[in-house]
Structure formats: structure tokens, C-alpha cells
């Protein structure tokens, strides 16, 4: 047995760069498929409500504002969102997408809410929803 087997390693690290980054001034790049916050592309949404049904946190809310004009309103409660991206998987028309933001904290949870008001799209779904 050798006394102080760790000392050479410790000394070597005196001359190495730190393992951490200088965060607020220098930011790490997020990976390509990073799961940030969900957002809607209203021109593609056919209001099938698959995202609303599958959301584990019940963070997506779709309401009809005008039935005759087929006008709908979607609210994403980002304060409840758990960033699992199940809505992206459930969406048959790729209308739900994830962005790459990670600095999303706020002083008020109501500011985290995102809203879209749009007319239902008549896009033919590319494929059947995965979880019909």
C-alpha cells in the first residue's frame, strides 16, 4: 500500500482548466433534440386534441372561441409543463414543436402562459396519430 495515492492526480489538476463553465457569461450549447418548451404552429393545427388528451401534466387547454368560424384558442400552461414532449409525439401534423430555450424562469407563473388564437387548419394528416 502506498500512502497518498491520490496526490499525483491532485497536483496534475492544478495546471488544468476548470471543469465548469462561467455560466451567465458563457453558455453551453444544448443538444440537437433538446426538450425545451412546447410551442404551436397554428397554421398546421387541425384541433384533434391528441396533445390535450395525452399531456401528463394537463398543461394544454384547447377551447372553441367561435364554433361557426372554427376559431380555437390554445393555452399552454408552461408553469405546469414537465417538458416530456409527449405532445410533439402525439401530434399527427407536426403542429406541436419544442424550442431550445432553457432559461425560462419568471417571477410570476402567469407570465409563463402561452396563447394562440387561430382558425382550424385543414391539413391532411401525414400519418395516423400514434396513439389513436
Amino acid at each position: 500500500m502506498k500512502i497518498g495515492a491520490f496526490i499525483p492526480e491532485l497536483l496534475r489538476h492544478l495546471f488544468k482548466k476548470p471543469a465548469t463553465v462561467d455560466y451567465p457569461f458563457q453558455k453551453l450549447e444544448v443538444p440537437r433534440d433538446f426538450r425545451g418548451s412546447p410551442f404551436l404552429r397554428p397554421e398546421l393545427c387541425i384541433v384533434c386534441r391528441a396533445c390535450e388528451r395525452d399531456c401528463p401534466a394537463e398543461a394544454i387547454e384547447i377551447t372553441a372561441t367561435n364554433e361557426a368560424e372554427k376559431r380555437f384558442r390554445m393555452v399552454i400552461h408552461n408553469d405546469r409543463c414537465i417538458h416530456c414532449a409527449q405532445c410533439v409525439d402525439s401530434c399527427p401534423t407536426d403542429a406541436m414543436q419544442m424550442d431550445t430555450r432553457f432559461e425560462i424562469s419568471d417571477y410570476d407563473r402567469h407570465n409563463l402562459k402561452m396563447e394562440w388564437e387561430y382558425i382550424r387548419a385543414v391539413v391532411k394528416p401525414k400519418s395516423e396519430p400514434k396513439t389513436s
Binding site: 500500500m1 492526480e9 401528463p56 414537465i82 417538458h83 416530456c84 414532449a85
Partner: protein, 400 residues
Amino acid sequence: MKFQIPIGPQHPALKEPISLRMTVEGEIIRDADLRLGYNHRGLEKLAEQKTWIQNIYLTERICGICSHSHTTCYVQGVEKLMELEPPRRGLYIRTLVAELERVHSHLLWLGVAGHEAGFDSFFMYTWRDREIVMDILETISGNRVHYGINTIGGVRRDLDEQQVKHILDSLAILRQRSEYYQHLGTNEPSFVARLAGVGYLSREDAIALCAVGPTLRASGVPMDVRKDDPYAVYAEVPFEVCTADTCDVLGRTVVRIKELFQCYNIIEYLLKNLPSGPVAVRAPRRAKPNEVVSRYEAPRGENIHYIKSNGTDKPERLKVRAPTLGNYAATLKMLKNGFIADVPLIFAAIDPCICCAERAVSLVDARSGQEKIISMNALKQLSRQVAAGNARKREAEWPL
């Protein structure tokens, strides 16, 4: 002269709330008792109100460190209920993430062991190297902690050539670092002296008290669900079950370091033999009435999920047995006849995840120390009785 010393529910030596009561004679623990229920989350009841898909993300949040183990265990059970056969590529990716998770969990544990043994530089170096495997998991799944890679009938994301290369490159660094830690673990005399002989659990006791995972294997019992009851693709992957004969905390450290190398071999094998094809099949929304028990070897030990379906899109019952619960009885045995100073080390050696193991609340009479479990109906009845006995004061005045 005997004293009772409480440790917890809030104590600097514990990361999560649990209450340990030690009867001590001088410095030596003669008896130990355990009280649970400070962290109950009502998760099983919540699972009954969510659909099969939503429950994947719920079970993922049972544990932060072995999140993939809980989802895999749940998803395997649901796939059996729905009679689904996930594609082979999907199973390979699922197993790959499982092994990467084992690497990150064991590196984390090594750091914690170093910290509890008073070897904090070891803790910092292992946790720095753990970032490598966290980065791999982030590139595969899009997140560091809750990977969300599983879905019913396969996995959600595919691997491309670039990612495979990235994993293999990072693996070479990890392997080199782990070899160094193995060398260190056997050559640093103060570290070895602190761990050797602490928390003795004989082979017979380990079996009798139903210990699981590395705690059991460190007592010389070669038991591993991956070998004994292979799930996913473990039947075709070559690996060895690691054991140690020292039956103490040093043995548990050795088992985990040995398992790290097995993990690297498994990951390399999986990446080199990755079959092509789809990663998931379409799952139905409902499951026929049936029941299933699913087993999984989590980094901490055997994880069991019992799932019962009733023909709807929601489970009728989900029961989770986290590995930590299996190790509690053995921990009390290990604590007996040890020193008070060894409590954090022995307790950390089972890699406890208290939050995962909290399932029910037991009520203890403060005067007599009697424990009993009260059902929801009995609780309602009790509250009605108390309410009926109290005459309601309609125009009561504030006494001051």
C-alpha cells in the same frame, strides 16, 4: 446504561427524511429501528387517474436517479398486458439507456461513498466524470435526468451514426477514469481502512432479510434479475454478475466498480450489434382486463411493478416496490453492533432513495408506541365520530 438516539427525520447525515432510532451503549449501537412515511406522495393513487401513456411520465418521476428503471419496469408490464412485441432496435436502445443510467448511478454512488468516508476530492472527481455520461444521455434523449425515452411499444427516439460514435468515444474516457478509480480504491490506505469491516452483513443474513442489488451481491450471492429472469435483450448480451465476499461497505464499493466495467462492455456490445429497423410499434389505448408483475434490475437492486388493468385506458392498480424498501431490513442488521460514526456510511452504502420507497403511512400512538394502519374509510368514520361528538358552537366568541 442504554440511551436512545434519534437520527432524522431531518438530519445533516441524511439527504432525505427518514427516522432512525438507535439504542446505544456508549459508542456501540445495540438496536436500531426505522420509521418511514415522511415523504409519502400518493403516487399509486394518482396513477389510477391517468392513462397508460400519461403514467409513463408519472412513473419516471418516482426517482430522479433511476428514472429509466421505473419507466422500463412499467412499460414492460403494460406491453405484456397489451400483448405488444417491441421491435428489436427499440429494445436495444432501451437497454443502452438502462446501462448508461447504471453507469451514472454507480459513479454518483462512488462519489457519495467518498464523501461519507471523508474523501471529498474523490467525490468531486467522480462527479466531474459523471458529467460525461450525463452528456451522452442528453444527446440521446434530449434531457439529463428524466430521459423520457420509453413509450409503450418501444422507444421514442432513434440513434444515428454520429451519436453512436460520440458514445463510443466518451466511453473510452470513462473506462480509463474508472480504471483509475479502481486502482485508487485498492491503493489509498485511508480510504480502504475506513470502508473495510464496516456494516457487516453475512451471506445467510442477506438472503434471510431479502437484500437486493449490490448489497446482496457484496455478500457473495450472485443474484441479478438481468441473469436470472432476463428482460429486454439481456438474454443475448454477454456479461457477468459481479460479487464480492467481504460482506462490508468495501465489498459494496468493489461490486459497483466491477459493475461499471460490465456496463461499459454491455454498452459497447449493444452499439456494435445495433439491429436496423423501426424503434417502436403502435400501441392501443386500452388494455384487456388482466394483471402482470414486471421485474427490472435497477442500479440499486430489483425493482418490481404490479399492474392490473380493467379494460379501460387507465390502470386499476399500480404497485411499485422500489429496491430501497427491500434493503431496509438488511440495513438495520448492518447497523447493529456498529459505531454511531458509521451510521451515515452504512446507510449510504445501500444507496437509499427514501422518496421512491415511501408507499403507505402508518400511525404511531405517541404514548404507547403502538403502530396501526388506518384505511381511508376508517379514517372518514373516525372524523365523523369526532365531529358528531363535538357540539358545534355557532356564536362562539373569541376569548381574548
